[in-house]
Amino acid sequence: MIKFNRDFFTGKEILFIGYSSRNNAFSKSIYQAFMNNGIKVYPVNNKANASFDIKVYRNLGELPTVPSCAFVLANKNNAKTIVNELSGKGVKRVLFQNSKYVDHDIFDICNKNGIETAVGCPMMIFGNGMHRVHAFLAGVKR
């Protein structure tokens, strides 16, 4: 696992796995924070009935291009499948929203496949107000 900071997003493109309609305000705030900071986002959600305001891809196969960096906001039980799929598509860096979404087995799989991992909320880097406090307390350099 590497230290989470702004340098994590050097590719200027990111996959957003688990862009949720159920928790739309939260997903949207992260999506907008990436976009406002010049990072193009490719949101992915495999739920067929999800209704979104923005273009959301159903799977990695639909993507016009696969970025080398991904942000995962998905159920822990799906993490293994997601990581294997990302590895197959050549993703080199994966950021997990928080430790609830990942366990040590996943980190091991990522290590074996040469994927760098980090854990942290992107809003700590891009958000203001309480997000700055959160970043300070978590020791994340903005």
């Binding site: 976009m35 406002n36 193009k40």
Partner: protein, 590 residues
């Protein structure tokens, strides 16, 4: 697709409450100077208030919610209950927040003012001598800053202050000192302006405010009566709110500051069509039938955003039985992000005059008017009437423009062309010139390309069906996403494969606007007051959020102009226009 204004008010409910809290601290300041130990008492009341509010909100919403409103309640209670034991104040704040606020569902859902509810409770147990802070020159700033809140409920505030002044006059106690002693400004500007619990209705607000200020002071000068009076005003306001469904008759006119400035240099104009704008050597002489045929054949459409076929619109006006027919050229450009209509008016006066001439061959108009916000820099012949409309948003909406220019009020479902009133966007008239005189297919258009971040904009001529992102990247290659739509007030996020449709006349690069979609609607009613159609926007949005679409009918969401002003000014950061759009679609489809 959800549309939203790209620009937003900087004020949020939390900002306003924080400002109110600051003013309340100024009211407390003289007491603190006199007795510094009372600060500790206030901090205890404040801490308990914040704890109760944060805890209940966390249980309710499963996330931390700003508790500044609880701080305001604590401050109000502390101001109104001087001299009582700390235990009484602590009981008061607990009662105020639990019974006065959270039992109803929390911020924005309570029908009683929590602070005044707490005061009523405390005044039933303890003997409270005063209903306002003692008069001192230190209160001057607090009184002055209190006046700012009158804008939230001006009529109720004026009513209660007038009522209190009348009562003091009746008691022969009217003086500046007594006005401060009895807290006329505090009760009027702070307590009667709580948007959650006091009606925005001007007539009822004034009358109910007057009664709730007058009667309690005539009954006696104990705070119990004042608190009871205000709570009765709250209950009456709630009852009124239930029965208020009809659109407002005279909604306010609201001006929005421009998102990008106008420009004068031609260097800010770019043609991406690769078409030559060749001058016409000789205008052909054409009959009305041939003019109409060319308008239809060359596909002229409404360029103001409606995209309605112009031939059909003209034909409707021709078929109209109206005795007097009128032509209005809409160059108002009320959207604060558009600049191309005014540029067209400045750059192509001859072509527009020719277009008007062609239309006049088809229809005998009683009046022809060019409607603009400012005639500065325009060069039209003297015989053509240039009308300057009031500067408000959305002055360019078709029926608003007709009302302004011709003083004719059409029903919301009337088709102006069928009433003999032809309203055409200035670019549509320019297109008529191109389609008829040059006999060109209309396959390109002028639009505004804005950079909201830098406050810059340019006019671009683009081919229809060209990709939005290609246009953006040709001017702003550093941006990976953009917005497009009818104007800065009606945008949506441009998809990768989005093309220039007939209804797109604005493209922008910008940050996403911050719609925080707060749970805490403070019922400020700005959305209702500013809605040009006077719709009860907050009620419509609430019904949509609660999925009670079958109850929408009396609120007439179908009258919505989709101007986006409700989303622009919502302090709770809600994209209200998208909710009204959902309601409108439901009503139209059902």
């Amino acid at each position: 697709m959800t549309t939203f204004p790209l620009i937003r008010t900087k004020w949020s409910s939390e900002h306003i409450m924080a400002e109110l809290f600051f003013v309340l601290l100024l009211y407390l300041l003289p007491g603190w100077i006199k007795s510094p130990s009372s600060i500790l008492g206030f901090l205890a009341v404040l801490s308990l208030g914040l704890f109760i509010d944060t805890s209940i909100n966390y249980i309710r919403y499963k996330k931390p919610i700003c508790a500044v409103s609880a701080a305001v309640t604590a401050a109000i209670l502390d101001i109104l209950t001087p001299g009582i034991p700390l235990s009484g104040k602590l009981m008061g704040i607990a009662f105020a927040l639990i019974i006065g606020k959270h039992i109803w569902g929390g911020t924005g859902k309570n029908i009683l003012n929590p602070g005044v509810t707490g005061l009523l409770f405390v005044s039933m147990i303890f003997d409270i001598k005063s209903q306002a802070p003692s008069p001192t020159f230190l209160l001057f700033l607090a009184l002055l800053l209190s006046l700012r809140f009158i804008t939230f409920r001006p009529f109720a505030a004026l009513g209660i202050m007038a009522g209190m002044v009348l009562a003091l006059a009746y008691r022969q106690e009217l003086s500046l000192n007594q006005i401060v002693t009895y807290g006329v400004v505090f009760w009027g500007c702070i307590l009667a302006t709580d948007p959650v619990t006091v009606t925005p209705n001007p007539y009822f607000g004034l009358i109910l405010g007057l009664l709730s200020g007058l009667i309690p002071l005539l009954l006696g000068d104990v705070p119990f009566y004042m608190a009871l009076g205000l709570l009765l005003l709250n209950i009456a306001s709630y009852a009124l709110d239930i029965f208020s469904v009809k659109p407002l008759i005279n909604p306010a006119r609201y001006k929005i500051k421009r998102a990008i400035p106008y420009f004068d240099e031609d260097k800010s104009v770019k043609d991406l069509t690769e078409q030559e704008n060749s001058p016409v050597e000789k205008s052909p002489t054409l009959e009305a039938n041939e003019i109409l045929r060319r308008i239809q054949h060359n596909g002229v459409f409404g360029m103001g955003g409606g995209a309605f076929p112009t031939f059909q619109k003209i034909n409707t006006a021709i078929m109209s039985n109206a005795a007097d027919k009128h032509l209005i050229i809409n160059g108002v450009e009320c959207d604060p992000g558009l600049i191309h209509d005014k540029w067209i008016l400045k750059s192509f006066p001859d072509e527009i005059c020719k277009g008007i001439e062609l239309l006049s061959k088809c229809i005998s108009f009683k009046s022809v008017t060019i409607a603009v916000k400012s005639p500065k820099g325009l060069n039209f012949p003297d015989n053509l009437k240039v009308y300057t409309v009031s500067d408000y948003y959305p002055a360019g909406a078709e029926k608003h423009l007709i009302k302004e220019v011709l003083n004719i009020k059409l029903p919301y479902d009337a088709v102006p062309a069928s009433q003999g009133i032809l309203v055409l966007n200035v670019q549509t008239v320019y297109s008529i010139y191109e389609a008829v005189i040059k006999n060109l297919k209309i396959n390109a258009r002028y639009l505004t390309l804005a950079n909201i971040k830098e406050g810059a904009g340019m006019v671009v001529r683009v081919p229809l069906e060209s990709r939005v992102m290609e246009i953006v990247n040709s001017i702003y290659p550093q941006y990976s996403f953009a917005f497009c739509g009818g104007g800065v007030m009606q945008c949506h996020t441009a998809t990768e494969d989005e093309v220039i449709g007939k209804n797109i006349n604005f493209i922008a690069v910008s940050d996403f606007p911050h719609y925080k979609e707060s749970y805490l609607c403070s019922k400020c009613s700005f959305c209702n007051i500013r809605c040009p159609e006077g719709l009860r926007v907050n009620k419509i949005a609430e019904l949509v959020d609660n999925n009670e679409l079958d109850k929408l009918n009396p609120y007439h969401p179908e009258r919505c102009l989709s101007c986006g002003i409700c989303s622009f000014g919502c302090p709770a950061g809600k994209n209200l226009s998208s909710r009204v759009k959902t309601a409108k679609e439901y009503i139209i489809n059902s």
